[in-house]
């Protein structure tokens, strides 16, 4: 009898912690999303409005539609470049050697930098007057001389992607390297003995075996890209115009600049729903039993 209850007692502190710091705030924000609550009018939530906020967001809010489009474009470009970049780097670093080992150790450094700081640094580096990237791009590609990166809608989105890729690719490279290390070498060697070129080995042997790892990288990166916030604040400020306003940034604006807590909660929950779907997909990938 004592053993039967002990496991629950031992779990209780952790369960209470999760309840207090995650479940409870989430439940409160879900309840808030069904209420009209402007902090400018009242310090407590107002009348119950049902699904009105969700309906307005999905049918009658150009800001939400814009943020959804920006987020989709950002996620698509960001995840594609991150997956391909980390795969390429991992293949380059796969071989043993002093230089490779050193590079692998250094790879983790960009990930250790705060994303807000990354944004500020990139803002300086793309400064039209004194930015090193602006100068470099103008030197290598003369038609880009004088180009103001952060004033063009697509260029500023690409700069935002670049800043995120710079931070994430090295980390994801380590993940892919781990996947590559776990692959048996025999099939690749057998293919080479059979006369396959390096490209054929990569395309027909390595990549199919690595697909589950790449899928995990893609899903994980999608989850993080959907939450893009810090660099938007410090690098583009959502501009030019509203070309880089992501969903997470919109939620921040709604809640903490415009004080519309009810509507902000609804938009946050739409974003959360997307993340939950991806998280379930991710868990299925990770926990999937190998084929018999």
């Amino acid at each position: 009898m004592r053993d039967r209850w002990l496991k629950y007692v031992l779990l209780l502190p952790a369960a209470l912690l999760v309840l207090g710091t995650a479940i409870w705030p989430l439940a409160v924000s879900l309840a808030t999303s069904f209420r009209d609550w402007r902090l400018t009018r009242s310090l407590t939530p107002g009348e119950f409005v049902g699904l009105e906020h969700y309906i307005v967001a999905l049918t009658d809010d150009p800001d939400f539609a814009n943020a959804l489009g920006v987020t989709a474009a950002f996620v698509g470009i960001d995840v594609t470049i991150t997956v391909l970049g980390s795969l390429g780097l991992a293949l380059l670093l796969r071989r043993a050697g002093v230089l490779q080992s050193l590079t692998r150790a250094v790879l983790i450094l960009p990930f250790a930098v705060s994303p807000a700081l990354v944004g500020i640094s990139f803002r300086f580096m793309f400064n039209a007057e004194m930015g090193v990237f602006t100068w470099l791009a103008g030197s290598l590609l003369p038609w880009l001389r004088g180009f103001v990166w952060l004033a063009d809608p697509w260029a500023s989105l690409l700069v935002l992607v670049f800043s995120d890729v710079w931070r994430w690719v090295p980390y994801m490279t380590l993940v892919v390297l781990g996947g590559l290390a776990a692959l048996p070498r025999e099939p690749e060697e057998a293919a080479r003995i059979d006369g396959a070129t390096e490209w054929q080995v990569l395309r027909d042997v390595t990549l199919p075996a690595l697909l589950p790892v790449l899928a995990v990288v893609a899903v994980l990166k999608t989850v993080f890209a959907l939450k893009m916030f810090d660099q938007v604040v410090t690098l583009t400020g959502g501009g030019p115009g509203n070309a880089t306003v992501t969903l997470a940034y919109l939620v921040y604006n709604l809640a903490f600049r415009w004080f519309d807590m009810g509507y902000a909660s609804a938009v946050a929950w739409i974003l959360t729903a997307m993340l939950v779907v991806l998280a379930v997909f991710y868990m299925r990938l990770v926990l999937r039993k190998p084929d018999a």
Binding site: L39, N127, A128, G146, V148, A151, P240, G241, W258, F259
Partner: protein
């Protein structure tokens, strides 16, 4: 015979200065000072109380904090300042309003946030009357930012006006005079770029960041006779005068090309850096920027290279300035409101502001009280900057910041950025902003 409005304004200003000067004097001829504050309750009834103060990071308030022992000596009250950087200040105030259990007794709030944070602050009309604090001590342009729905929520303590900074050395070398009109600014900018090919005429921010790309434009708008809103509170910034003012403003960048090319994405700090690094010859900006421009760690310029003048206007129109005002208010949830009012009274003493302005260890120009703006010693120290400020404050218009202002400002900021970048025409961008603002106001 009728008195011209400008003369009435001047009289009102002088009357305010006289009232403020009188407030500096104490009965019996003793002069008010940081250590001798009129209005404090006699007998130190709140001795032993500790106040908590939520304050934005600013050298002016560090200077106040350093002088707190004088306040404690007069009242027996101690105060603990918590300094929050500007970028986090609104979140800190919001958190205090929503979840604070009276953590802070006194808080400082920027004008644009006052209406939306009105639930944070206690009306202080009666307390100010009881303390006999003369409200004409402050220019109306600053004082009105502390009022919401005819209730006074706070007293101005930090306030900014705009000035046109210019490279005095370049202007002297080429026999140029600081432009008094926008037309002259364009001409002067062009001339400088001809004479100094590596220097842009004027640094102006057109990028997005807390409405910074609107702050110089307001002067264009008022100069053209436009307003942001009509009497019903509906958008008027897309009137013919409004659209022309935007066109004039973005023409500095797009047509006259007298700004740095990167100005289209500049924040205010980028514009300041551009002048500080010697890349631009003029800079219309807040007066406090002087401290940055003469700071060797942030700028290549020296004090002798920097001149300043009132903001230009259109020919025949009065000089104006957009203002930025911070007000001190007592929090609604404070459990020590009477003691907090003692501290507010001490802070509102013109002698404190004057002492900080004249302290040779300090370099902050900020002043909000008329007697100090017109003070001879203060003007002597800062080259007459404060007299220019008083002049701008006298004639300026101001914006009533309603609770939806942050959202409205964002719509305008986006429109300005789009017009400057050329992704939309001026009319298209501002008509779209007007539609957005109407939608915001409809939602209430």
């Amino acid at each position: 015979m009728t008195t011209p409005p400008a003369m009435l304004e001047r009289r009102r200003l002088l009357a305010g200065a006289a009232a403020g000067a009188a407030a500096l004097g104490l009965p019996g001829g003793a002069r008010a000072s940081v250590a001798n504050t009129p209005g404090l309750r006699p007998g130190r009834p709140f001795a032993g109380t500790e106040l908590k103060v939520l304050c934005v990071v600013a050298s002016q308030f560090r200077a106040h904090e350093a002088r707190l022992p004088a306040f404690t000596e007069q009242t027996g009250i101690t105060a603990r300042y918590t300094f929050v950087p500007f970028v986090n200040m609104r979140e800190a105030l919001t958190a205090e309003m929503v979840g604070g259990g009276g953590d802070y007794d006194l808080a400082i709030v920027m004008d644009q946030w006052v209406a939306s944070l009105a639930n944070l602050l206690e009306p202080i009309d009666a307390r100010v009357r009881e303390k006999n604090i003369p409200l004409d001590r402050w220019p109306e342009a600053h004082l009105r930012q502390g009022r919401v729905n005819n209730q006074l929520l706070g007293l101005p303590s930090r306030g900014h006006v705009q000035l046109l900074f210019y490279r005095k050395d370049l202007f002297e070398r080429h026999n140029l005079t600081p432009p008094a009109t926008w037309e002259a600014l364009v001409e002067t900018g062009r001339r400088i770029q001809e004479l100094e090919p590596n220097i842009s005429g004027v640094a102006v921010p057109y990028g997005r960041n807390n409405g910074q790309n609107l702050m110089v434009w307001y002067n264009f708008l008022w100069g053209r006779g436009g307003t942001l809103f009509d009497e019903r509170g509906q958008p008027a910034f897309n009137s013919q005068a409004g659209l022309q003012s935007v066109q004039d403003y973005v023409d500095l960048l797009r047509r006259h090309r007298i700004t740095p090319a990167g100005a289209v994405s500049f924040t205010e700090q980028d514009a300041v850096n551009s002048m500080g690094q010697g890349n631009s010859a003029m800079l219309p900006v807040w007066w406090w920027v002087r401290a940055t421009l003469v700071n060797p760690q942030a700028s290549r310029l020296t004090d002798a290279q920097i001149g300043f003048a009132p903001m230009p206007s259109y020919a025949g129109r009065p000089r104006t300035t957009f203002t930025n005002t911070w007000i001190w208010g007592i929090t609604r949830r404070s459990r020590r409101k009477d003691a907090a009012m003692e501290l507010l009274t001490w802070i509102a003493n013109p002698a404190l502001e004057r002492e900080v302005l004249l302290d040779p260890r300090e370099n902050d120009v900020v002043a909000v009280m008329t007697p100090n703006l017109l003070d001879e010693a203060v003007n002597a120290r800062f080259g007459g900057m404060h007299r220019f400020a008083a002049e701008g404050l006298r004639a300026t218009q101001s914006i009533t910041f309603g609770p939806d202002w942050p959202q409205v400002s964002e719509a305008l900021e986006i429109a300005m950025n789009e017009a400057a970048a050329g992704t939309r025409s001026v009319a298209d961008a501002f008509n779209n902003a007007a539609a957005q603002v109407r939608r915001i106001r409809r939602r209430g």
